[in-house]
Subunit: 405 residues, 2 copies
């Protein structure tokens, strides 16, 4: 598997666009994006589990019932959520605008919005920007599209890989946005995955669901699960590989590549957590099973106290034990080891649930790196799991203290 | 019911003490406290639900099996948690020290510790401070005791009430500590309640459990449920009322007074949340039942995004809908009203799940008060519930970025 450039435009037949239509007031920032395939795609998606769902989610769920689509239209700056029937009409209008200008049907489009909740979507502004958007579509539009879906993100997030399936080169490209309001089960995270792999809609959905569970759903920035977000995948089959219709070796290879792309983006989102200065990766081993391992890892990564301690490069491992203890997973606290790892070294701080003597200066140095591994070893079984998060900083509070203005 | 002075020493027969024995290094701060009744007490307690429990919790659970005790010994500055068999021996030693100097048995004492996890408890320091502690015991010792149990608390928390039970005046006094690591199900919160009411141990426990569920367990500062904390009650019967042995009117009056005291402390703890500038009270009405109402209110009060918005006095009610949506409680999002209330006024911001036009300047003014009511009205039933929390501030991050040093 090789990493390649061009993000969502890397697979054959995909174009993208990103323009500034004026939703983000007073700022000349791109806020409207389009992804389009030159041929019909199998399509799959995973959605937020929040009971309060944005209008675009409802529309997309409807459109993807047939496990097929042709493209995606996305705006940032407004979540189009809690806007009642008008919000729903606006989400449908976005698909209609895209269809009108591409000769396709509204139901061929995935619709997504991200931004403030409970403010009317300026649909006229979007309509006025449509011509420029469609004109902007091109094979090198990935950079503009990934920029147009950002809200408080400080970094653009995209990746692409290629790999061989039975002699044919297949590509997967992806872009994501997500920075705050990010917690297990999607949160304010949008991710668009394109591939030229030929695969059935059913298996595309199955692969995506499996993959999301282990990657996007294992990221927590602030414990808030958003109303709007989703991960979707479009597969246009242009690579010409023999269509994947069963779970054989080809499916395995596709799943592996999809996981690589998803894990890359999940880490990038955690690293770009609002105000974050460090990426935290909690790796649990010796868990009873994968699900409980994930629950434990997520509990650590979600703890405000753990997150604040890492901001201060403070090896306060007691807070990690504490977070494991309230995770809801049963384990023997006297059989837990904790260690920290970064590019600057490795240090064990707790063994069998008790303190190990350690060099505080060395620990501080290791924890001053920008990516920190928290290694938790239990004695409950053989399962492993990972979760990603970030430190809690002054900046997070600042960003969220007055987001709307 | 009247509010009276003297906290835990308000009920007849209780004395308290608080001294500086030297656990909190480099700071001449009180860190060792004692509460003692002049006669045997019925005793009850509710404990942290964290799987990782501090050694003092284990010792107290053992001592209170008989639903009786005589006093409590408490230290701050060190949680005596994750210290293995030595930690357990130290917690037992604290009870033994108190017993030796009061002519009682070790099992007559509740033991509590709060502070850093995973550092050896300096038991020699505590032993050396015991003579001064016992000497300090007095009827006016409540202020010193409440000071000695504080960690990052910025305000002392105590209250007392008196009320009449069948012609006799009965008193309940209480003190608490708690500021960070506070979330539903106890968290780092210690509360000591004394009363001269005569009541059976079983009913004292039942009243305390019912009361904790509605008050202390409805406070969230940062989502972390601590390893160490508990609410305990000592009832020495010195008021001379007819012993409460069944759930009649006397039990009802006692429960009401206990709830008043507990709610006062729960609010005080939320208001003193680490770095907090505002108390948030979320009141849910129209819930299907009390438990789901509490879950909804707690989800709002626990959301980092909601908390950060209130720090900025930002009427970002969409985040409230969002937090309700991921609470795990089923409800109709199109039948939710949200309003804010403070000493500066009242403003409705959302009706039927949709935005109401409102005056942003007025909202900002209302939200600049130091106590904010978040009123959520649903259409699921007739139950109401409340939860308390605080805003998320720069200061919280600062306090927790380097707590151990």
């Amino acid at each position: 598997m090789e990493t390649i450039p061009s993000g969502v435009c890397a697979p054959i037949g995909f174009m993208a666009a990103g323009v500034c239509c004026g939703i983000k007031k007073g700022k000349a920032k791109r806020d409207l994006a389009l992804i389009l395939s030159d041929s019909p795609c199998k399509a799959a998606a995973c959605y937020t589990k929040n009971l309060v769902k944005g209008a675009p989610i409802l529309v997309t769920q409807e459109h993807l019932k047939k496990l097929a689509a042709h493209g995606a239209i996305v705006n940032s700056g407004n979540a189009n959520t809690c806007n009642g029937p008008e919000g729903l009409a606006h989400a449908k209008a976005m698909a209609r605008f895209a269809a009108l200008r591409t000769g396709l049907r509204p139901e061929d489009f995935i619709v997504a919005s991200t931004g403030v909740i409970g403010q009317r979507l300026p649909i006229e502004t979007i309509e006025a920007g449509m011509d420029a958007l469609v004109k902007d579509l091109s094979k090198d539009g990935a950079a503009r599209a990934r920029e147009a879906i950002m809200t408080t993100d400080t970094r653009e997030k995209e990746t692409a890989v290629e790999f061989i399936l039975s002699g044919r080169t297949v590509r997967i490209g992806a872009m994501a946005k997500g920075s705050g309001m990010i917690h297990i089960n999607m949160a304010t995270m949008l991710s668009f995955i394109t591939t030229d792999c030929s695969i059935s809609g059913e298996l595309l959905q199955e692969a995506l669901s499996a993959c999301v569970e282990k990657t996007f759903n294992c990221v927590s920035v602030d414990g808030d699960t958003s109303t709007n977000d989703m991960v979707c995948a479009l597969a246009n089959g242009r690579a010409g590989n023999q269509t994947i219709r069963e779970k054989g070796p080809d499916y395995g290879a596709f799943l592996e590549a999809l996981e690589t792309v998803s894990e890359y983006l999940a880490r990038a989102i955690a690293k770009d957590g609002e105000g974050a200065t460090r990426l935290l990766e909690c790796a649990v081993s010796g868990a009873a099973d994968e699900a409980s391992g994930r629950k434990l890892a997520l509990s650590v990564i979600s703890s405000s106290l753990v997150k604040a301690a890492f901001f201060g490069s403070d090896a306060n491992w007691g807070r990690i034990l504490c977070a494991l203890g309230y995770s809801g997973v049963a384990f023997d606290p006297d059989k837990v080891d904790v260690a920290f790892r970064s590019a600057k070294g490795f240090i064990a701080v707790c063994s069998g649930g008790r303190p190990l003597p350690f060099d505080e200066a060395k620990a501080k140095d290791i924890l001053s790196a920008d990516e920190i591994g928290i290694e938790v070893k239990m004695a409950e079984g053989a399962a492993t799991a990972k979760a990603w998060g970030c430190d809690l900083t002054y900046e997070y509070v600042k960003i969220n203290g007055d987001y709307r203005s």
